[in-house]
Subunit: 95 residues, 2 copies
């Protein structure tokens, strides 16, 4: 099992645009990607410009297939112009 | 529903000590705290000194009770001397 925290700090005037694209990616990922246990977008309570994908995948292989999928390759590059910064971490259970 | 990402960058020589304390906190939280949907510790694949609690709570109230609980007040202060840095974000669903 793999957990992913993909944090994005969005440009103030691009939040709606990011949300629209993210909704498409979320929909496609949840319907098409095998081994996807959880995949959703979350907004920081204090800073609405921080939008973070919290994900859970059955295996590294499932995650790699997601990253190679058409919907990922079509949508994720479009985020680049909308974000100020981003940070992604891949996690395994500590115990 | 509230998601919490509580990321800790641990001092290299303090990882085992942190893990031992975190195991106690995890055990107490999962058995005692009402409204706790998920509470576990995860280790970054690339940097084993990054140990992050990924949490899900039914409500802000449940999370506040957790923070006020004896096990939290007993254990969390002991993390201070073990960590180089930490960052916590509280999230709500974006859609």
């Amino acid at each position: 099992m793999i957990k992913v925290v993909a944090e994005n700090k969005i440009k103030q005037d691009k939040i709606e645009e990011f949300l629209a694209l993210a909704a498409k990616l979320r929909e496609a990922t949840n319907t098409k990607d095998e081994g996807c246990i959880h995949y959703d977008l979350y907004q920081d309570f204090e800073d609405p410009s921080v939008l973070t994908f919290l994900e859970e995948w059955e295996s590294m292989e499932a995650l790699e297939k997601h990253i190679a999928a058409d919907h990922f390759k079509e949508i994720v590059p479009q985020f680049e112009s909308l974000v100020e910064s981003k940070a992604m971490r891949l996690y395994k259970q500590a115990f």
